[in-house]
Each structure stands twice: as structure tokens, then as C-alpha cells.
Subunit: 604 residues, 2 copies
Amino acid sequence: MTDVAFQPIGKRVQAEPGDTLLEAAQNAGVAISAVCGGVGVCGDCRVRVLRGAVSALNPTEEDLLSDADLASGLRLACQVEIVGDGEIVVDVPADSLSAAQRSQVEGEEIPLDVDPALRTFDLTANPPSIADLRGDWERVIGLDPTNYRVGAAEIAELPGILRAHDWHFRMAAHDHDVVRFLPPAQTPLGFAVDVGTTGLAAYLVDLLTGETIGIAGATNPQIAYGEDVMARLTMVVRDPAAAGSKLQKSIIDGLNDLLREVCTLAGVKTTDVLDVVTVGNTAMHHLLLGLPVEQLGSAPYVPAISSAMQTNARALGLAVAPGAMLYLPPNVAGFVGGDHVAMLLATATADLPGVTLSLDIGTNTEVTLNANGQMWSCSTASGPAFEGAHIRDGMRAADGAIERVVWHEGELKWLTINHEKPVGLCGSGILDAVYALRSADILTITGRMKRDHPRVSGENHNIWYEVAAATTTGHGRAIGISRSDVNEIQLAKGAIRAGIKILVEEAGLQENDIDLVIVAGAFGNYIDLAGAVEIGMFPPLPLERFRQVGNAAGIGAKRLLINAAERSRAAEIVQHLQYVELTNHPAFKDRFSQAVLLTPNPWD
Amino acid sequence: MTDVAFQPIGKRVQAEPGDTLLEAAQNAGVAISAVCGGVGVCGDCRVRVLRGAVSALNPTEEDLLSDADLASGLRLACQVEIVGDGEIVVDVPADSLSAAQRSQVEGEEIPLDVDPALRTFDLTANPPSIADLRGDWERVIGLDPTNYRVGAAEIAELPGILRAHDWHFRMAAHDHDVVRFLPPAQTPLGFAVDVGTTGLAAYLVDLLTGETIGIAGATNPQIAYGEDVMARLTMVVRDPAAAGSKLQKSIIDGLNDLLREVCTLAGVKTTDVLDVVTVGNTAMHHLLLGLPVEQLGSAPYVPAISSAMQTNARALGLAVAPGAMLYLPPNVAGFVGGDHVAMLLATATADLPGVTLSLDIGTNTEVTLNANGQMWSCSTASGPAFEGAHIRDGMRAADGAIERVVWHEGELKWLTINHEKPVGLCGSGILDAVYALRSADILTITGRMKRDHPRVSGENHNIWYEVAAATTTGHGRAIGISRSDVNEIQLAKGAIRAGIKILVEEAGLQENDIDLVIVAGAFGNYIDLAGAVEIGMFPPLPLERFRQVGNAAGIGAKRLLINAAERSRAAEIVQHLQYVELTNHPAFKDRFSQAVLLTPNPWD
């Protein structure tokens, strides 16, 4: 038997020599994408073997992998067999995970030194004696205790640890505040969460090595109180005390559920978590912290606080160590919050030369343009359509969701997540379908659906196109995309495109001047870029100028845990960003009304 | 009608012109001592009129007050009449209060500058505009918000206050931590408590003026779990988790009760309290903070922490502002805790020239000797006898307790608190009785009770002397003092005297070298010094070398609230104190066995 570890998802499994890595992954519950079922045809299941003995490259792999893939060490999990019984460590790139797993938590990572805000000290104390009656804390060697503040819950653990471990212990501290005393070998852990309006993505991190030792995703439970930000803010403004604490409790409960999930899988206690980072838009930030939102929900939309926050995590109800602090990066302005700052950190947007456009696509889409070092940001209300909401047969990216649609030989062809029987359309499927219907000329440039196709049924705005027959949707009819679904997509993509256009204009540039478009976010990671460009969601740039990076906000949250300098960097970035408020921008209405057109260049 | 305020006890009442201050005090529930009933005979009811119009000095006052009294502004409350209707402020010295009121909370106060650790800033913010979309906190004028850490509960209050008060607000901060944002006119309050093994004394303080605006005392509710420190520690050592949290909850509940009492009387919310100081011996300190006590309860008796603590008060369960910190001064060693440090601060012991002996008499009696700048401290287990415990007819200093006993014309004469029917003996009464019986030669020097007096009954150790007939004691017999009561007092006073002797020897001095004896503590404030000297509790020094200062620990706790420099001073004092552990001191047993003798000089 040998031990196979899958990184960065953080799962381990036992396997036999001769097993393929794909089999091991399936046993571990790591959903590596393999459309062909592991017979060496699709070339989806690409992984890297970081350590351990495996079979040599075979002709199937040489056929299906490009020279660049091979040079970067990629292999096909279905072809690589385990040899011997040493430990094997496998890196699974985000692209190789099926949509459901990769959508919320995975993202590209730029290497980072491990130098966390939570510092760890390995210390020893002198045993007490008649000649040394000082307190346990005062008998610590090599550290001046008067330089540190230590709270009651923290000092309570020291006497027991000292006496159980021969006067050795580990101390975790934030600046000059003791966060916890630990037994000498215990790993200090961190917990980072991207708090999206719709989804939560959580990471459990070893703060000594920077390694991710657990990942989990969940729906933001606040969704029960309103799908978009404004619905939730309105609820609180109407009944500040009750609704505010209800929404706060809801998200804290959601975070605790994720915390328990990752900790249970990693075999640690939730109270072993000593530092927490959450990133979210300004509304999520305020609702999580229990801050008032009246002033945030109406013009001129000012937050209670813009700067980075550091507040006791346990006081908010998080089931972590009593001394653990919760850090939230600074907010930019309006709804552009710390999640976008985290995304800019994770993608190094602020450090890139030339003109870079970074988008984090979600219920709100934040857009930043870095034009040769000068930066502009805005937030666009793209709405929940990309998450499948407000769409007749929409659904989240789960088993059975149609995630890919193409127009092929006169009809729509589709694929579902995990090849399950279709039950609805997830965001990428809807976007694909709009592009497919537009390319087949069943949709006009304004989004009107032509009636003369055999699969188009219904009347006026109830008109719809049958995508797939299905028996499991519950409404007893085929899965389709309606005229009003198309309009939802037009509004969503139009808001994003108008935002891009306005930032480009603020910088005095043309869309074609953009050298690189970084697309982040659960949905953004999985959309078909060619289709998105064709329907005018993104500027019509060559596709090689685009990079899909996954959940960059979540990765940025992890970076803020792992390296304290990233926290200073976050403050710097916010200071240099120029925020553009779109709601009262003189050009917005005009740009938006053009941007809803289903064409790559609506400005012509 | 006019308003009469009694300081420092903090009570107010309405009165009519022509009323005496004694009548006003009685209406306010301020128990000014007046044995003669207010007819101008006893001269007990001494007060100072700090402000307001009252009648001129009359011949009765001139008769009963000494020149020194008159020079210091003392008047007799029963003789001073209210004139006109302006506000009157009266200072009631601790000595003028009846025992029950003055025992726990009153004490001599040395003037102190108001410069609290909790700083208050009066600030303004720029209103937001399209041109200034920063957060509310970032728009504050004249302060760099990045220099301050602000938690979630604190920032939550800012937007509402700014908008309700035309962008003005008050900020309370500890170092660089925001404690609370307040409306512009709100007074920042502090709460100081002396946490005694037996009693609690609490003070509500205006942190802008340093004035005491409320005082309250109560029994330490932990007493239900054991009268002395060791009983409570043993309980926790046997069942650390359950008993520790039970005792912690008990004292926190007790503090919250006092907090609610003083806040209700002052018409403020408990959450308006922004800073808290508690002082207590090392065991009270550990039990309050929930620290383990195993290592404290067995040799070499080391605390978990000696240094001053600063910990979030709300996290411990105190019903104060979420950001309020609880400060506890440093512990010395063994059971000599921060309460003794506070007592040393309040009495300025460390600053006095010559040789000063300071004692804080309680269930444990802490003793410090300052011999020309060098200081030694010890703790003696004086036990709860002075509180009336372990005494056949003992009781606390409450209505009906015999508080004063003298031998007069061949029999014991006694006085009860508030002249109520006698129900038992409180500490001072017991001590007086021992002295009286010794002076009448009914007790021998070794504490044996002679059988040949008509009021002595019983056999062997059950032998007792009838002090007073009473019908309300419940046991249906006369109040008396038994041979074993006398032994309890011998052990208690012997422990104190042995401690004094050993410190004097450590300093290479004789008892007679002591220039000043400062006697503090609930009980110490009220004992008859002459009697205490005669039975050998204190060295036989001239009585003018003694000073009774009341609850100096509580007054010290207030000082730590009112002036931050006192906190540095506390650290300095602890650094300079030499702690003498008596339990294993080579000379202790010998000195103690002599010190139990009922004679002024047991060393002869």
C-alpha cells in the first residue's frame, strides 16, 4: 500500500501498486475530469506528479499532451500507474477538476514566501523553585513577557502545557498580542474564506509551511434572505436590529459549518485555528461584522469603515481559538470590497506592465483596469443570472447541470456535469446556449428569438427554445432557454461590458489597448471565452490575451493568511485605486444600452 | 427644596432649608454615625461641607471638635442646618460612617491627577459626498485612523452616532485600541472592584473628572464554595474543569450584580462602562480569570502569571462595553496579589520615608515593610475569624452585631451596630471581648479561660463567657465567647504578628524601629487599636504611630482606573518588593508559637 496525496485540494488516500492516479483520485473523492471515463481518449485528466515513484510516460500521453504540457510536467492521471510503496504527491491543476469541485474554491496560485502575520515562537521556561517564585509566564527564557499582551483565555493554557511538555511550549502571537500557547509540536492553523454573495470558498492552511490542508465550498446561507446584495441590505434597513443580527448569524453559522468540515477532515480541532481571513464585497463585509448598512445602501454609498479590519474572531461567534483575530482587507468604495483587493493580490494585477483588465465575475462583478500603473475600479450589478438564478431552467453547477452547449450540424449539443442525466442549465451552459442560438441566427442582435425554428415554442416573451428533453426537472417538460432568459443574460453581460468600456474611457484608452484580461470567479473560470466574446460580454480581443484564474479572491484570502506583507500590499493597492461609481456616471446609461446587444462590438 | 450630595459615597437627596445635614443623610440612607441620636453630645457625626450655603459654626461644635478638626473644616452633621436652596455637597469621612457601611468600601484617599489609561477624544468627521466616498471612520478629522485598531462591535456604532450628532462624536481608546465610540456628551465610566476572599467593594467612576459616582459592597458569592482561599483552590484542583468554571461564573455574576446596582443608581447603562480594574489576592485573581490553580495551591506556589493583565472584560462575561478591557495589577508572589499592590499605591507606602509597616487585614493578611526604601512582603493566613466565621456566635458587621465591647466596673459592656438588639459578635466585637476578658484576667496569657467567674459556664473547651443575653440568636441561649473562639483569635492575630516579626528581622530591625503602621481592610479599619496592641496583634508602639485607612485596596483599584501612571507605579513596586514565603520560613514556627500569646510583647 502507498499513500497518495492530492494537492492543493488536500486529500489523501491509500492505493496499491498498479492502480492509476485516476483510480486513486476517484477513491479519494477528488473529481478529476475524465470525459472518456479514463480510457486515454479525452486528455482531460491532467496532473503533475510532484513526488514519488510512478510509471514512465507512455505513447497515449505523448499523443494527447502538447509539447508545452509535457515540458511543464503534465501527465494523464488515467495512464500513470503507481510503482512501489513510497508516498506520492500529485498536483491537480484547477482545470482538471470537474466544474462542481473547481467552481468555488480552486484558483491559480503565484508562489509566496511563508511569513504570516501570526508568528510562532518555540520557547522554554525555567521550572519554578523556591528561588524563582515568579509566574509561569515570567519564567519564559529568551523573551520579555512585558512586551506581550496576554489575555485570560490564553494564559489559562500555559501552566498545563509547561508541565506536560518538560517546560517547552510554542507561542503564537499577532504583533504583541499572544494568540495562543500550544504544545511544542502543534501546528498553528489559519482559515481563509472568500465570502461571496452566492458562494463561500474556505481554505484550511498550515501557517508554518503555507500548505493548504483542506478546502470546502458551500452556498452562502444568507441566500435564504435574498439572492442579491440589495435585497439583503433592504431587509436590514427595514428592520436594522433584528434583520442585521439574523443575517450576521446566518453567515457566521455558514463559516462555522465550513470550519468544522475542513477541520474534521484534517483531524484537527476548530480551536486549533489561530488566524482567520475573510474577503467579501462591502455588503458581505458589513453583514458579517454586524455593521450598519443604511449608509451603504443609499447614495453616496459609504461604508462604516474602509480600512482593513482586525477584530476578535471568537467575539463574532467563530468557533476558533479565543485569541484568534479575524482580518478583513480594506474595502475600495461602494460595493467594491476586500474580495476584489484579494483578487488583485492573487493575480498580481497591480504589478503587471502594460494594460491589464481584471474581472471578478459574480452577482456583482468588480472590474479593475491597470493602465501602466494607474488603476481604476468599478462594480457592476451583473446579477445572479450567471449562477442560474432568474433563469427558467437555471441551476447551480452541480451534477446533471448542462455546463457546455454548442451548435453542431443544425442543432444544440450539450454536456452535463459528471455526465449525469440533465436537470437544468448552469451559468456556463446558459451563456453557451445564448451564443449558440445567436450563431445559428435563432436570436437576433437585440435578443429577439425567431419563431420559425422547429424547437422554438410559445408566444411573445414566453417563447423558448428546447435544449434537452428531461424527465427530472419536475415541471414535466423539456429543458429550454426562453426569451426572458436571454434578456437576463443580456443585462448581466451588458453591465459588465459597460463597466469595462467606462474604465477604458477613464484611462483615455481603447478596448483594443488591453494587453491582458484576467477573468476570475466561480463562473468566470468556466465560461467559454470565445462565446463570451462573440455575444459581447468581453471586448473582441484575441483569445490569447485572456487568462482564467479561478477563485482568485479565495486564493488572495489565503495569501493574506500566509504572508503579512500582502496585508500592507492590500492597503497600498486600495490607496492607488481610483473608484468609479457607475450608478451616477454620466456615460453609464448610454454605454449600457449599447452593451446589451448580442454582438462582439456594440459600440459600432 | 435643595439637593444634598454625599461624597464619596455618591448618594443624593432632596432637603428643606432648616433640615440638618444628619437628617438629610438619614433620608438618603447614608448611615452617619451618631451614637447620641443627633443631640450634639457624642461628636461622632463629623462631615465637611464642600459646597453650598449652611448655618455657621455653633458653640456645640466648637466644644466637641478639636482645634485640628476645626482647622481641617470638620463640622457636626447634627448641628449644620441647610440655608437657602442651592446645591450642597458634603464630604463624609470614612470614620463618620457606621461600621456596616464603612467596612467594605470606604477608605482614605490621597489626591490624584485625572489621567486615565482610557483616553477620550472629542472628534468630528467630514460628511460624505460624491467627492469623498471613504468610510465613516476614514473621514474623521485630526486623527490618523490607521494608527488605531477598531473592532467590529465598536465600528458598528459610529455611523449612527455621526448622523445623529451632526458628525461630532467622542472616542474612547486604550493605547491604540478603540474601546468605544460615544455620542459627544456621554461620560466615559470606569468600574473598580476590590475582590476580597470574603467581600466585594465596587466603585463607579467618572473617567473625565475622577469622581466616584457610585459605591456598593457585597459578599463574595464564592463563599458558598468555601470560606477561605485554600478550600476554594482544593475544590478546583479536585475537579479543574467544572469547579473552576463554577467559581469563575460565581464571581463574575457577583461583579455583574454590583455593576448593575451602581449603574442603576447612577442612571447609566452597564455598557457605558469602558474600563474595569479588579484587585484581589493571587487566588481571587486566578479564579476570576479562569486560570488553573494546581500550581498555585501547592509548593512552591507559583501563579500562572505575575505581571499585570489586560484582558477583554466582555469575553470574561462582564456586562460592560464590548471593547472594555479589564486590568488587574501585577501579583507579588504566593497569595500576595494585586490587591496588596493597590493598597500600597493607595497608602503611598513605597514613597514614605523611614520605616513603614502596611497591613491589609482580611482572611489572608498581607504585610509589607518599607524600611528606608527597601521593601519586604509576606502573606499570613489569618483566617476568617475576624469576619465572624468559626466563632460560636460570630457574624458579619451588620445591624445587631456587637461591634464594641469594654470591661467596665466589673462586667462587659457592649454596643451593637445601629443600636439594634444584639444578634451576635462581629470581628471587632470579638477582638474587643478577648482584650476585655484578658484585662479582667478571666483569660490567661495562653488563652485559658478561668472558671471562677459567675458568667463563665461549661466544661473544658466548651467553656464560655456570657457576653449578652439575647433572644434572637436562634439557639435560645445568651451570646457568649468561648474558649475555642479565643483560640481562633489567638491563631489569627498570632499569624499576623509572626509575619510582622519576620519582616522586621529580614530588614535587620526591631519592632520598635517602625515609624508608622498603616492598617487597612474592612476589619482593620474598625478594630480598637489599643486592645489589638494589648493582646499582641500589633507591636506595642505608641498609638499615634498607627493609621487606619479603610479599604485601601479598593481605593487603589480606583487609582488604577483614574491615572495610568499608577499602573506603571504598580509594576515598579512589585519589582522592588522582596517576597518572604512564610510557610517554609525557618523562623516562622517558632515566632508563631510565641505570637499566639495574649500579651503585647510575646518575644520577651
